[in-house]
């Protein structure tokens, strides 16, 4: 299995923010979802891949090429969708296409027209009159009309209503019928990732908490619930973080099997959603800072 994207030990510091030793691999033919709270470092990672922000340490390889040394060769094969599309608002979609198309050798008008029809986009309407959903669809149509092998999207579903959001995710899944394509997209909406991603990379506070297949995440993580009498210093250690109240506790485990051995049938085990996983990891982080 070859990797479309390989990031190792990537670091970058801003005032008050550190991206710390980020490593991840995205195998060709799969979708990776990048989740994390706002300000976790998702956009910085994406900007570094695109070489829009300079890294300070580490390496980034796209299609097994260095992202800086072979930037031009790489970018021809990337479709990039920004979170806030920077369009020339006074243009219409047709004019915008005419501006962008000449930059790509592989630009394909048939694909573009097909996407415009599929997304129901008006070709002659000024872009500044587009709704948020239409703007997003327009930037996707622009980004995907040159047969890109690697699609990078920063918050592609933000500000979209649930119906359009579904359409978008279905559309991404459709692209993946071609096993030579790969997609990296970031979102702070966990249901997007749960629906569309094959790999989940969770970033918090500038670090990768985990980067795993969705199945691995679903099988390893679980919520453990039980009476407070089950909790002592030892059993607590097996949980990532615990929230306990007057009537019992709830904690997150990253190793369901081990927890079952420790708590036995006195505790209840529930599926952990990505939201649960994020919440408890965040709680752990907060506890560590105290």
């Amino acid at each position: 299995m070859t990797n479309t994207l390989e990031i190792s030990n990537l670091s970058k510091s801003y005032k008050g923010f550190h991206l710390n030793n980020v490593s991840l691999n995205l195998p060709t033919g799969y979708i990776m979802g990048l989740i994390g709270p706002n300000g976790a470092g998702k956009t910085t990672i994406i900007k570094i891949i695109m070489n829009l922000v300079m890294k300070q340490a580490g390496s980034v390889k796209v299609f097994r090429m260095d992202h800086q040394a072979q930037e031009v060769a790489i970018k021809k094969r990337i479709g990039f969708v920004y979170d806030t599309p920077a369009f020339y608002a006074h243009l219409n979609l047709k004019q915008l296409k005419n501006v962008v198309a000449p930059f790509y050798e592989n630009w394909d008008d048939t694909v573009f027209n097909d996407l415009v029809n599929r997304f129901n986009l008006p070709i002659n309407k000024s872009l500044k009159k587009f709704s948020r959903g239409m703007t997003m669809k327009a930037s996707i149509a622009i980004a995907l009309s040159h047969h890109a092998d690697f699609i990078i999207m920063d918050e592609p579903t933000s500000g979209l209503d649930p119906v359009v959001r579904r359409e978008m995710l279905d559309f991404l899944r459709g692209i993946m019928q071609d096993e030579n394509k790969s997609i990296l997209f970031s979102s702070h909406v966990t249901s997007d990732i749960e629906q569309a991603a094959d790999y989940i990379t969770y970033v918090n506070d500038g670090r990768v908490v985990f980067s795993k297949t969705k199945d691995e995440v679903n099988e390893a993580y679980a919520l453990v619930k039980g009476g407070n009498d089950l909790l002592d210093d030892d059993t607590k250690k097996s949980l990532i973080a615990v929230r306990s109240g007057d009537y019992g506790f709830e904690g997150l485990t990253a190793d369901l099997k081990a927890s079952k051995k420790i708590f036995g049938d006195k505790a209840v085990y529930d599926k952990a959603s990505l939201e649960d996983i994020m919440f408890f990891h965040n709680l752990q982080l907060k506890n560590a800072h105290q």
């Binding site: 033919g29 279905d170 993946m176 096993e179 297949t213 969705k214 199945d215």
Partner: protein, 125 residues
Amino acid sequence: MKIIISNSSPEPIYEQIAKQIKSQIIAGDLEEGAALPSIRKLAQELHISVITTKRAYEELEKEGFIDTVAGKGTFVAIQNKEMLREKKMKSIEDQMTDMVSEAQKMGISLEELQEMLLILYSSDD
């Protein structure tokens, strides 16, 4: 082929898929040599990860229910009906072994057990 996935089931999704395909093969609803959808097609249809469908197919392949021919696709394995039946019999036998040992632990006699079986067998359906 019919596959229905439950997200609230504690059973992993790949197992749900493998099980359902398996029982359709055993029941003869999926015939020998029939083509199965590609892992990517199936993932798209079921709205699940390619990794999950891949794992389900790998499971089925390991157990000899399906064959993947590189560049051609995935097909229901040509197997002998006798062997399928034998596999099913073996699984029933295993379950009966568990049942018998549970019954013995609880001091249930063979007669009682037979009676229970008789009731269940004739009432089922």
